[in-house]
Structure formats: C-alpha cells, structure tokens
C-alpha cells in the first residue's frame, strides 16, 4: 500500500512539475518575444542612415 501511495504521490508531483514547466515555457516565450521585439527595434533604429539633402 505504501508503495502505491508513494507512486501516486510521485505522479502528482510529476504532474505539478509538468504544469509548472508549461507555465514557465509560456512565460519565457512571451518574454523572448518582447526581447526580440526590442532587439528588432534597436536594429531598425540604428540602421537609419540620415543621408540626403536634409543633413544639417
């Protein structure tokens, strides 16, 4: 009985960890999206070449 209880408890723990992993992966994905957006914005910004007639 104890062994079965231990197995059941382990299954519960494994499920909790799997759920936590899913949440953390979602969080990581959202953060990476924001980070990549920021990186893309900077690239876009610094690739601006103010050449032409309007140069002061």
């Amino acid at each position: 009985m104890k062994i079965l209880k231990a197995l059941r408890r382990l299954d519960e723990l494994a499920m909790l960890e799997a759920e936590k992993e899913r949440r953390e992966l979602e969080r990581r994905e959202a953060l990476m999206l924001r980070l990549n957006k920021s990186r893309y914005n900077n690239l876009k910004l610094f690739s601006l070449k103010p050449k032409g007639d309007n140069v002061c």
């Binding site: 062994i3 197995l7 960890e17 936590k20 992993e21 992966l25 924001r34 980070l35 002061c56």
Partner: protein
C-alpha cells in the same frame, strides 16, 4: 514416492516470499526511476524560473530604453526635416537622454540582482553548467550595458 508435507509447505512459502520480493524490487526500480525523472524536471524548472525572473527585470528596462531612443530618433528626424534646432528641442533631447541613462539603473538593478540572495539560492539549486551559463550571460549583459553607459569605450 512420498512428499513430506512440511517440505511442500516450506517450498510454497519460499516461492511466495520470492515472488513478493520480486514484486517489491520491480516497484522499487519503478519508484527510483520516477524520482529521478521528477528531480530532473524540478531542476530544469528551477533553471527556467531563474532565467525568466532575470528576463522579467531586464526586458521592461530595455523597453524603456527603446522608447527613449525612438523619441530621440523622432526629434532628430524632425530637426533634419525642418533644418532647425530650437532650445525646446534641445531640452527634449536632454530630458530623453537622461531617461536613456536608465541603462545605468539597469546595470545597478542587474548587479543587485546578481548579488541578491534569492538569485544565489536559485543558482545554487540548479546544475553547475546551467549556473555557469546564466552567470556568463549576466556578465555579458552587464558588460554591454556598461559600454552603453560609456560609448567611448566601444
């Protein structure tokens, strides 16, 4: 030929004992395997959480920096178009540059984060290679931001 009853009973008990030991051993192996899987997953999750906590602090600061840079770019664009530079525009640039110097705050926040007990505890819990990776990435970010702080160092 006659079997002694006592020996038959002992034999049955021995077989039963061996079967029970076998079953226990199978369950024991099963539990050990599961425990190691759960431990592995827990360590992986701790690494993920530590990384996410760090990103959670860095990303908003970077976004503020982006906003400031966008505003500066917009003002510079207007100056280039109009070919005029008013004191108001200079004041705006100064204000935004002050805002942009949040890079300093980011460095400070990162350094305090790296020294914080929470992160240390979390890093200690995770595997050694992952720990080194996180530390290396943090050092790299701090170095880059410090270059941001002093553009002449680039």
């Amino acid at each position: 030929m006659e079997f002694p009853v006592e020996q038959v009973i002992i034999g049955i008990f021995a077989l039963f004992g061996a079967a029970v030991t076998g079953i226990f051993s199978v369950y024991n192996t099963k539990i050990s395997k599961k425990v190691s899987q759960v431990e592995k997953k827990t360590n992986g999750n701790q690494t993920l959480t530590a990384g996410n906590d760090i990103l959670d602090q860095i990303v908003p600061a970077l976004e503020r920096k982006d906003e400031a840079l966008d505003k500066i770019a917009e003002i510079l664009d207007n100056i280039l178009r109009a070919q005029t530079l008013t004191s108001q525009q200079l004041r705006s640039i100064q204000l935004i540059l002050e805002n942009r110097c949040q890079a300093l705050d980011v460095v400070k926040a990162l350094q305090s984060l790296m020294e914080s007990r929470h992160v240390h505890d979390q890093l200690e819990k995770i595997d050694e290679p992952a720990h080194e990776d996180v530390k290396e990435i943090l050092d790299e970010i701090v170095e880059k931001l410090e270059c941001d702080k002093n553009p002449n160092e680039r």
